[in-house]
Structure formats: structure tokens, C-alpha cells
């Protein structure tokens, strides 16, 4: 029996006694969190103060109309119907129609504008979160699942949306009604008022007991949603692998575990939150009984009249009804706060360190120096990814990086683009440390061609134009021609206007790479970073690409990573890396003469 209560329907309790005991510390923190979360939402709402004032005025008017209607009806009954004198009744009824029209109109308008306010707030949260994504360092994204972040953008913000839509007005009008009735009640009978108010501390205490649990449970629920989202995103994006390895069952099992966690947290959160209106109702009814009972006894010795009791029972209902309404909203309010908290948590993540704002538009020459650079990834498994790396690439030169996989070649490029900041040493371009250079200046001069080409769900020409937003159609075609992409683009159903679907499955991997090269070509960078850019392009095409790249590299400083030595061969300098360190460097011929690692690699390649 005891178990059935503690574990209804077999649900394990998610909050243990220990969890709740831990709260003294957390309690303050949580209260502070709530407060600051609500404050931040309020600030966003407050940005539309004019509309807000209009809405609140309308709420005031419509509440007044809502009270005036029954009052006038009472008046009609008392003055016309009871005495049976109907003259002049038509006029009052006419007024009533006005009141009703006004009520409906103000009601509609207040909601009409409130929806606008609420959705504007939600929009700002979304845009703010997205804008913040753009300013977060790359390392932030390394640590998080895409689906989980997506969940914050949709599910969490949705919770805020539905709450703002409905609860905001409700809270305000409830407070209005509450104050109004309280005043009238004190006026009628102070003793009975005190009796009615007895329930308020009990209410407060029980709501606190519940929110102590639900606050945390809702947070857990939203976390579970995020987790599930992350898993779904990964497995749906990687559906081919799931199928190829016949892992549907395994994925399903994992899904069920995560889904079950959501169900469990959701169950407890909703169950506890569901208590609130019931508690309110109970106290409500309790106070009703107290007023009726005690009032009755008081009426016996004549200290209150029957009329007052009748009015009081009515008013105590009126008084607690808004509280009840508030309590009914609690469910959504709580999950909205949990959602907003998760959104703000991301917004509070540190942005990429602030840029020093000077000479933002200067075009660089392109001399690159690495001076004793060391770097390791945050939470990386290996000690140093890059260790004491020093070299100089003069303006317009091509530097090739070779070495085993995991030697740190790609990292060198990522450091140069300042996706990550170095831990030790300094990287300089034209003598200026890149740390002292606005990121914008730096990246404007750099174009990347990455190993896994990424294309956006947009037309082919838009994808190429990504390198230079104001490029003309002719420029786009020219870049495509140079990258040897023009031929296959022309064969696509709608040529340059063909919209590439989500995963770009319409075109092959190699064709994607051609497009990403065209994108780099159109950007006209000073420094060119090619990371395995030609790895998935067949040899015949590669020869043509090679020509285009050579033309492109002319006059630009280029960093090239390639495992194909024919790509490397054209470089002015070759840097051989091993485990994050530079082990050999020099021109092709010099390295061959040294007969070191590079020579061995070449010999191996021949095998």
C-alpha cells in the first residue's frame, strides 16, 4: 500500500528525500534564479511599454465592465421587476447592451495586442538566442548536441510563448479582482474578512511545498526533452548508418530509455503541479464552510446579518476564484520558467572574447608567423595538440602541411582563423598578433575549403554567393567556371536556381566540394586554407581544379593540407608534422635531400 502511494503506476520517485534536503543552499539560489528569470522576461515585455499600458488599461476597463454588467442586472431586478414598474427599463437595458459591447470589444482588443506583445517577446528571445549562437566560440558547439540546442530554440521558447499569451492578462486581472473584493470585504465585516484570510498562509505554505518539487521537476522535464531531441536529431541525420548496421533495435532501446525518463519526470511534475488548483479549491471551500458556520453562529447573537453572510460567501468565492485561476495557470507558468531559464543559460555563455576595434577594413598582405605556439582542446584527450610550433610563411607563398592523421594539421588552420585561441605563444599576420586583430578583419581575408563540404538549403547560386554576398550573377558563373562546377550545374534541372535539398543528396560529394571551392574563389581572400579540399574529387577533375587553384593561389598566402603528394608538390615550403610538433620543413628538394620523414613517406607512397 505504502509503495503504491510512493510509486504510483510503478513510477520511481525522481526526487529523493536527500534531494529535497539539499535544498537550503539551492532554495536561495532557485528563488534568485526565478526572480532573475522573471525579471529578464519582464524587461523584454516592458520594451513595448506603450502597448502594455494600453493592454492593462483595457484589462481595467473590461474588468470594470464585467462587474458593471451583473450590477446593472441587479439594479433592474430591484428597481423595475420587483416593484413591477417597467417604465424606463428599456433605457437601462440599452445601457447594458453598451456595457456588453464594450466588454467584448475591450476583451478582444486586450487579447489582440497581448498576443502581439507576447509573440514579439518570444521572437526577441529566439533572435537573441540565435544571434548569441553566432557569437559563441566554436568550442562551445563542440561540447553540445545539436538537437539539444534546437530543443531550447523550439520547445523551451514555446513554453514561454503559451504562458505569455494567456497567463499575463490573467495574472493582472486576478490581482485587480483580488484587491477589489478584499476592500469590499473589509468594509462589510472585518471579523469575517480575517476568517477568510486565515487560508492565505496555509495557501502560501502548501504552494511552497509543491513548487519546491515542481520547480526542479520541470527543469528535469525540459532537460529530458532536450536530451531526447539530441538523440533524435543524431539518429535521424545518421539514418543511413543506423540502417546499414541494422541498429534499429538498439536505437529504439536508447530512445525508449530517454523517452521513459521524460515520462517519469513529466509525470511527477504534472502530478505535483496538478495538486495546486485542488489545494486552492479545498481551502476555498474550507473558508466557505468557516464563513458559513462561524457566520451563522455570529448571526445567532446578532453581530452580523444574514444578508452579510450571503454576500460574504459570494465574495469569498469571488476572492478565491482569481487565486484559483492563477493556480490553474501554474502548470504552464512553471514550465515556462524552466524553459526560459534554459534559454537564458545559453545566452549567459561567454561570447568569443571581445574584439579590439581598430583598422577593421585594412587589407592584409598575408605574411603569417607562428611563434612558439602551443594549444590543446578544452577537455581534450591528448596532452597538447600543438606544441611549440614556429614557422613563417611569406606573402604569396604556398605552405603544405603533411603528416599522419592527428598530427595537428587541421588545428593549425583553425588557430589561424582564430576559431580557438592559442594557449601559449603568438600567431602574427603582417607582424600584428591575431589576438589583437578584430576577428572580422582577420576572417575577411581568409577563405576555407574544408574536407566535409557543407551546403545550405538554398539555391546553387546562393550557395556560391555565400563567399561574397553582393556578387553579381556573372561573378557567380565565373567562379563556378573556374572551380569547374559550371558544367554539372548547367545539367541540373534548374541550373543555378536549383535548390539543394536538406542533406544535398541530389548531388555527389565531389560536386559539393566543387561548389565549396567556387564559394572560396568568389570570396577573393588574402589567405587561403585548403583542408583536404581535393580528397573526394576524382583525378581527372582534380587536374582541372589544380589549374584553378593554382590561379587562385597566385599572389595569395596558401596553407594546404593534402595526403596526395601531387598537391603538395607545388608548394613552396613543406612542413612535416608529427604529434603536434614540426619535425621537418623546407622546400621539396631540400626535404628529399635530408632523407628524413618526408622522404620516407614518399617512398612509402610509392609502395
Amino acid at each position: 500500500m505504502f509503495n503504491a502511494i510512493r510509486r504510483p503506476f510503478g513510477y520511481e520517485p525522481v526526487l529523493t528525500k536527500e534531494d529535497l534536503k539539499k535544498s537550503p543552499d539551492n532554495k536561495n539560489e532557485r528563488a534568485k534564479n526565478w526572480k532573475s528569470t522573471l525579471l529578464r522576461i519582464w524587461k523584454l515585455v516592458d520594451e513595448q511599454r506603450t502597448l502594455l499600458i494600453i493592454v492593462l488599461t483595457l484589462v481595467f476597463v473590461s474588468s470594470a465592465m464585467a462587474l458593471l454588467g451583473p450590477f446593472l442586472i441587479g439594479y433592474i431586478i430591484d428597481t423595475y421587476i420587483v416593484p413591477g414598474a417597467f417604465e424606463g427599463m428599456g433605457l437601462i437595458i440599452g445601457w447594458l447592451v453598451v456595457v456588453y459591447v464594450l466588454h467584448s470589444v475591450t476583451l478582444y482588443l486586450q487579447n489582440y495586442w497581448m498576443v502581439g506583445i507576447a509573440q514579439q517577446v518570444v521572437y526577441q528571445m529566439r533572435a537573441g538566442l540565435f544571434g548569441h549562437f553566432q557569437r559563441l566560440p566554436v568550442s562551445f558547439f563542440d561540447k553540445r548536441q545539436h538537437g539539444e540546442l534546437m530543443s531550447r530554440m523550439t520547445n523551451d521558447i514555446e513554453n514561454v510563448s503559451s504562458t505569455l499569451n494567456t497567463s499575463f492578462i490573467q495574472v493582472f486581472s486576478s490581482i485587480l479582482t483580488l484587491v477589489g473584493t478584499a476592500v469590499v470585504m473589509v468594509f462589510l465585516s472585518p471579523i469575517l474578512t480575517v476568517l477568510t484570510f486565515i487560508i492565505i498562509p496555509i495557501m502560501y505554505w502548501s504552494v511552497r511545498w509543491i513548487t519546491k518539487r515542481t520547480g526542479r521537476l520541470y527543469k528535469e522535464q525540459q532537460k529530458a526533452v532536450g536530451d531526447l531531441n539530441g538523440m533524435i536529431e543524431e539518429t535521424i541525420s545518421g539514418q543511413k548508418i543506423v540502417k546499414a548496421f541494422s541498429q534499429e533495435d538498439r536505437v529504439m532501446d536508447e530512445f525508449l530509455v530517454k523517452s521513459e525518463r521524460l515520462r517519469r519526470n513529466g509525470f511527477w511534475a504534472w502530478t505535483y503541479a496538478g495538486f495546486i488548483p485542488k489545494v486552492m479549491n479545498f481551502l476555498n471551500n474550507g473558508s466557505f464552510a468557516i464563513v458559513a458556520g462561524v457566520g451563522g453562529l455570529l448571526a445567532l447573537n446578532g453581530s452580523v446579518t444574514i444578508g452579510v453572510i450571503v454576500i460574504f460567501t459570494e465574495y469569498s468565492r469571488q476572492f478565491t476564484r482569481p487565486l484559483n485561476d492563477l493556480a490553474n495557470q501554474f502548470n504552464t507558468v512553471l514550465s515556462a520558467i524552466a524553459g526560459a531559464e534554459r534559454v537564458f543559460a545559453i545566452m549567459d555563455e561567454a561570447e568569443e572574447a571581445d574584439d579590439t576595434k581598430h583598422n577593421a577594413e585594412k587589407r592584409l598582405e598575408g605574411k603569417v608567423e607562428f611563434d612558439n605556439v602551443s594549444f590543446k582542446y578544452e577537455g581534450a584527450e591528448e596532452e597538447w595538440t600543438i606544441r611549440n610550433l614556429s614557422f613563417t610563411v611569406e606573402t604569396g607563398q604556398t605552405a603544405a602541411f603533411v603528416g599522419a592523421t592527428g598530427a595537428g594539421k587541421t588545428t593549425v588552420m583553425q588557430l589561424l582563423a582564430r576559431f580557438y585561441d592559442v594557449d601559449e605563444g603568438e600567431i602574427r599576420i603582417d607582424g600584428t598578433p591575431i589576438g589583437a586583430m578584430p576577428r572580422e578583419t582577420l576572417r575577411k581575408q581568409i577563405a576555407f575549403v574544408l574536407q566535409d563540404p557543407f551546403l545550405f538549403e538554398a539555391s546553387v547560386s546562393d550557395n556560391i554567393r555565400y563567399g561574397k554576398l553582393d556578387a553579381s550573377d556573372e561573378e557567380v558563373v565565373e567562379a563556378a567556371k573556374q572551380a569547374n562546377a559550371h558544367d554539372f550545374i548547367s545539367k541540373l534541372p534548374e541550373g543555378y536556381d536549383t535548390v539543394l535539398s536538406g542533406d544535398g543528396s541530389m548531388i555527389s560529394q565531389g560536386q559539393k566540394q566543387l561548389l565549396s571551392i567556387a564559394r572560396a574563389l568568389i570570396a577573393d581572400p588574402v589567405i587561403l586554407l585548403l583542408d583536404e579540399a581535393t580528397s573526394s574529387i576524382d583525378t581527372v577533375t582534380e587536374l582541372k581544379i589544380q589549374e584553378a587553384l593554382e590561379r587562385l593561389m597566385e599572389g595569395r598566402t596558401s596553407f594546404v593540407i593534402a595526403h596526395r603528394l601531387n598537391t603538395v608538390r607545388k608548394a613552396d615550403f613543406v612542413y612535416v608534422m608529427e604529434l603536434g610538433k614540426l619535425v621537418e620543413s623546407g622546400s621539396q628538394d631540400e626535404l628529399l635531400k635530408q632523407d628524413g620523414l618526408y622522404a620516407t613517406m614518399l617512398a612509402d607512397a610509392k609502395l
Binding site: Q119, Q134, L149, M150, R263, T271, G406, F419
Partner: protein, 574 residues
């Protein structure tokens, strides 16, 4: 909505209990005014102190019953709605897992994600509300109506007159709401899609300084969502004022005609007051109504979207079929032509070849010539449009898909790893594989040493899509994953591109020892020479097929490639 809500069936008992408790609560609530009236009439007016105390206690007892049924209802409603959504979620996800790949073009990942979370949450909420408050409003309306008729049918008629009009109005609004809310959910898909895209392309966006550009693009998408959301809600907000106005006007009619009734003696003042009272109660209930209707419209829109997936016209993937190979390790393409579903362009035309067990076929060709498409037909990701593909001596269409795929080790072009540990990822190839098996495969894939160097070894966490590993490491893990299952057919789709020459040749040496029939896509003649035969694709047509030497004689294109690559090697050597 029917299909989705059929998932409530297993919980009909729970739902029944929840509804019963809700009714009990309601009854208690309705009894209270009667008791109060009795306190006043029998207690206070009669001056009977005992009755006051007794009835006061009865009132308390009733409150307690109402409270308890409310609290217990909370458990049942919460359980039923969460279990229901859990089941729907499972059903949708299961359905998605059974989709053929072509379906993923129809339902992009972002849309499926919204359905599995946001949409399901919507219907869960409606069920929960239904079990707690939804019936209250209609019951109050009906109850008050019945009472009004009992009191004075002639006057009550005026309350009923507006009902049909209001019902038609509600119906129209719900219809509208469903349409608008389905727009909203579709916009949500777009938001999801754009966030997903941006997360995948973080580096690219940063490198091209397109942060602001993307933020603007997003503003458009989010702005469109806002506009549709506002539209949907504003339509819904019309409901309440109209309902209230309708009720209020009929209330006035009651008073107006009531007044005449009293004059002519057809009605009593008390009756009129009572009916006015009931009408006001109904009006109060109507405000709850509009809230419910909005929730219902949203839920309907969401459940339609869920049903789109559940009832999608896709024969999915045949699960039942042959499970035993006839001639293990053989692969045969018999005059195969192929166009992606929904397109007309043939990416493969009249391809025929046959591989005996342990034979190796190298596939070469320009980008877009159909290499990957050809490989995808073997595990039956797609079906041949014409001709037949046979594996292990059976047409792939006769195979039980899971069994067929279990015999194949696939290494895709883009190595896709999942969040979890390295050993976790490798065991995708073979569940319950022992560590030594994983290690063995990793060794062959030339990655064991690297993994051992990590402080946590095989328990190292792989981040989202393997972000914390280098391209080469990912490729080798992806190869190891395929080798763990000791496949009888191995498919390598240009999966060694990020490997340096030394690692690659060591890898090929290991792969040569494998007992598997191998199909590999490569750009390198040197690698192709390791194969027994080479298939050269040009625009989906097999332009040449044979051994290295045969192709050198036969195919000018092959000769050209071979010469260009040989020239390099000579160069390299100098």
C-alpha cells in the same frame, strides 16, 4: 485525430477513473450551495445552533471528499496523458525507423524532430486538460441549462435560441484554428531546420563572417513564425468576446421577456432571478470554453501532423524475407538502372557485373558518375528501378533486410559517429562484442594505437558527430566499426581520403587479409590495382569493366588517369 487518439485505448480504465473523480469533484461543488442554503434556512433563521455546527461539518466533509478526488485525479490524469504521449512517441519513432530512405526527403529531420517533441506535447496537454477540466465547462453549461428549464421553460427558451448559432460559429473557428496552427507548426519546422543547419556549419559561417547575415536570415524565419503565431492566436481570441456577447444578449432577452411574463403572470420574480443566475454561470463557463477550443485546435493540427507520419504511404522496408544466404559472398548486378525516387534522371544505366566470394571490385569515375548510388543498392537503401541486384545469390528484394544488412560492412564517405564512447560506437558493428573484438577491428583499421593513447582509451567520449576527433581518426573508427562484424561483404565508399599514405597502405594490407567480398570506390589507380577488377563509371554508364591491364588497353579514359597518376609518382620519386 482518430489514429492518434486510438493510442489512449490501453488507458481507458485510467481515463475512466480520472473522469469519475472529476465528476465526483464537480458534484461536491454543486452540492455546496444547497448545504449553505440549508444552513441559512434551517440553522440561522430557525436559530438552531446544532444544525449550524452539523451542516458546517458536512460542508467540511464534502470539501475533503472533493479535495481527495481532485488530488487522486491528478495522479491518474498525469499518468494517462504521459503514458499516452510516451506510446505515441514510440510509435512515431518506430515508424520513422522503418521508413525507407526516400521518405526522409519527404520528411526532413527537422520536421520529424518537431513532431516527436512539440507536436506530441501538444496532444499530451490536451488529454491532460481533458481529464481535469475540459468536461467541467460543458457540464456546467448543460447542468445550468437543465436547471433553467426546470425552473421556467418559457424563459429558458431564450437562452437556448443563440446556441445553434454559437455552435456553428465555434465549428467554423475550430476549422480555421486547425489550419492556422498547422501553419505555425510548419514554421516551427523551418526554425528547427535553420538552427540545425547553422549548428552543422558553425565553422563555415564563422570563416565567411556570415554571423550577421545568418542572424538576419533567421530573423525572417522567426519573424514568419511570429506572424503566423499571432494570426492563429488572434483568430482564436475572437471566440470568447463573441460567445460572451451572444450569451449576454440572450440574458437581456430573458430579462426583457421575463418582465412581460411577470406582468402577464406567466412567470414569478424568483424564477426570473434564478434563470438570470444560471445564465451568468453559463457565461462564466464559456470563458473556459474558448480556452479549451484553442487547445483543441492546436492539438488537432498537431495530431494531423503526427498522423502524416504514422499513415505515410510508404511500404517501408520489407522486414520479412529470406534469412539464409544461398551463395555467401556473391554480388551480382543484372542490367541495373536506377533513378532516385521521385526523379526521372537515371543516375545508373544498364550496369551488370558479378563478384565471386572474396573478390574485390574497384569502382572509379568522375564526381557525380554514380559511384555512391551504385553502392547504395547493395544494402537496399534504394531499390533498382530496372534490372536486379542479387546478394549472396538472392535478389535483395527477397531478403529480410536486417539479415541482409548484418552481412554487410559499410563505410560511408562521410564518417558518421554518434554521441557515446568509442567502444559504444564500434559495437554498432556487432552488439555484445567483447573488447578484444573491438580492439582487433581497431587494430586492422590502424586506429588501436591512437585510441590506446587517449587517457580513457576505448571509453573516450565521442562528441556530437565526432567533433573532437580528426577527420582521419573518424574515418578509421568508421572502418573499424564495419570490420567488427566480420562482414562477408565490405563496402568502402572512398573512405580513406583523410588518411596519409603510410597509414593507408598499412590499412589496405590488412583489408587484403579479410575474408570479405569487397567493393571500393577510389580515385587512385594504385588502390584500384589491388582489386581483381575495375569498373569505370561515366555518367552512370559502365564505360569499362575488367582488370587493370585490360582497362589499360581498352579504355582511353582509364589510360589517361593511370598515366597522370603514374607521372606524379615518377615525379615524387625524383
Amino acid at each position: 485525430m482518430k489514429t492518434v487518439f486510438s493510442y489512449t485505448k490501453p488507458y481507458s480504465f485510467l481515463i475512466g477513473v480520472a473522469l469519475f473523480l472529476m465528476l465526483l469533484e464537480l458534484v461536491v461543488e454543486l452540492l455546496q450551495p444547497l448545504v449553505i442554503a440549508s444552513i441559512i434556512d434551517d440553522g440561522i433563521v430557525a436559530g438552531d445552533q446544532d444544525t449550524i455546527i452539523r451542516l458546517g461539518l458536512v460542508l467540511m466533509g464534502l470539501s475533503l471528499i472533493g479535495f481527495l478526488s481532485g488530488v487522486v485525479n491528478s495522479y491518474f490524469a498525469s499518468h494517462a496523458s504521459h503514458s499516452f504521449s510516451f506510446d505515441v512517441r514510440r510509435a512515431v519513432y518506430e515508424r520513422v525507423q522503418s521508413f525507407s530512405l526516400a521518405m526522409f526527403n519527404k520528411f526532413p529531420a527537422s520536421g520529424l524532430i518537431t513532431r516527436l517533441t512539440s507536436d506530441i506535447q501538444m496532444i499530451q496537454q490536451v488529454l491532460y486538460m481533458g481529464l481535469r477540466i475540459m468536461l467541467r465547462a460543458p457540464l456546467i453549461v448543460i447542468g445550468s441549462m437543465v436547471m433553467a428549464f426546470v425552473v421556467n421553460a418559457q424563459l429558458a427558451i431564450y437562452l437556448v435560441i443563440v446556441f445553434p448559432i454559437l455552435l456553428v460559429f465555434l465549428y467554423v473557428m475550430v476549422r480555421k484554428g486547425v489550419v492556422y496552427f498547422s501553419f505555425v507548426q510548419r514554421r516551427l519546422d523551418k526554425v528547427n531546420r535553420m538552427v540545425q543547419e547553422n549548428l552543422q556549419a558553425v565553422r563555415l559561417i564563422k570563416a565567411y563572417l556570415r554571423g550577421k547575415y545568418e542572424a538576419n536570415r533567421f530573423s525572417e524565419v522567426a519573424g514568419a513564425l511570429k506572424t503566423d503565431m499571432v494570426k492563429a492566436f488572434r483568430i482564436m481570441e475572437i471566440i470568447l468576446p463573441i460567445l460572451l456577447f451572444g450569451m449576454n444578449v440572450s440574458l437581456l432577452a430573458v430579462i426583457w421577456f421575463g418582465a412581460f411574463g411577470i406582468q402577464s403572470g406567466d412567470a414569478q420574480i424568483g424564477e426570473l432571478v434564478a434563470i438570470v443566475n444560471y445564465a451568468m454561470r453559463m457565461t462564466g463557463a464559456f470563458s473556459m470554453f474558448s480556452f479549451i477550443i484553442m487547445a483543441f485546435a492546436r492539438a488537432k493540427a498537431s495530431s494531423d501532423r503526427i498522423e502524416e507520419v504514422l499513415l505515410a504511404d510508404d511500404d517501408g522496408e520489407a522486414v520479412n524475407g529470406a534469412t539464409v544466404p544461398l551463395r555467401e559472398g556473391t554480388v551480382r548486378f543484372d542490367d541495373v538502372s536506377f533513378a532516385y525516387p521521385g526523379t526521372s534522371r537515371r543516375v545508373l544505366q544498364h550496369i551488370s557485373f558479378e563478384l565471386a566470394p572474396r573478390e574485390k571490385l574497384a569502382i572509379m569515375g568522375a564526381t557525380g558518375s554514380g559511384k555512391t548510388s551504385l553502392l547504395q543498392l547493395i544494402p537496399r537503401f534504394y531499390e533498382a528501378t530496372e534490372g536486379s541486384v542479387s546478394v549472396h545469390g538472392r535478389d535483395v528484394r527477397e531478403w529480410d533486410l536486417q539479415e541482409l544488412r548484418k552481412t554487410i560492412g559499410l563505410v560511408p564517405q562521410q564518417s558518421m559517429l554518434f554521441t557515446g564512447s568509442i567502444s559504444n560506437n564500434l559495437s554498432w558493428g556487432k552488439e555484445q562484442a567483447a573488447l578484444w573484438e573491438l580492439q582487433g577491428a581497431a587494430e586492422k583499421a590502424q586506429i588501436d594505437e591512437t585510441v590506446q593513447r587517449f587517457p580513457k582509451g576505448y571509453e573516450t567520449r565521442v562528441g556530437q558527430k565526432g567533433v573532437n576527433l580528426s577527420g582521419g581518426q573518424k574515418q578509421r573508427l568508421s572502418i573499424a566499426r564495419a570490420l567488427v562484424r566480420k562482414p562477408s561483404i565490405l563496402i568502402l565508399d572512398d573512405s580513406t581520403s583523410a588518411l596519409d599514405v603510410k597509414t593507408e597502405s598499412a590499412l589496405w594490407a590488412e583489408l587484403d587479409k579479410e575474408q570479405a567480398t569487397t567493393l571500393l570506390v577510389t580515385q587512385k589507380v594504385r588502390t584500384a590495382m589491388r582489386a581483381d577488377r575495375i569498373l569505370l563509371l561515366e555518367d552512370g554508364v559502365a564505360s569499362a569493366y575488367g582488370t587493370h591491364d585490360e582497362l589499360l588497353n581498352m579504355s582511353p579514359l582509364y589510360r589517361e588517369i593511370a598515366q597522370s597518376q603514374q607521372a606524379e609518382e615518377v615525379d615524387e620519386y625524383v
